[in-house]
Symmetry: C2
Subunit: 82 residues, 2 copies
Amino acid sequence: MYKATITVRLKPSVLDPQGSAVKGSLHSLGFAAVTDVRIGKTMEVWISATESAEAEQKVDEMCQKLLANPVIETYDYELEGA
Amino acid sequence: MYKATITVRLKPSVLDPQGSAVKGSLHSLGFAAVTDVRIGKTMEVWISATESAEAEQKVDEMCQKLLANPVIETYDYELEGA
């Protein structure tokens, strides 16, 4: 059993309206020192696999097929035995 | 300038319908080896501060006030000079 912690982020060139809204809210709350906010997703996926190479290949495939939109997002992940 | 990478996750006891939906979609795509999926948020916040202790305190405060809902979520973060 492996656990993959996948982080999906918007590419730096892509506008992040959610991040801008959070930045605005933080400023309203008095956090004037905040200069930028970017928001992404984190996904924890548990996979039953016997080898880490097999799990890694599956994680890559599911990121490309479903979990990330390669046009506007990038992903990275960490794999650990669970 | 510091960059905080904040991860907000649902507490383990809280149901995650979004994760269940993603798990269902992964199964439909043929990833039968996936046993569970949990979804959270990742936030990158850039803060102008002179000391890491100051930045840390601010990040804790903004997590408690806005970024995480302590009733159903937990947060952790990494701070790095940027």
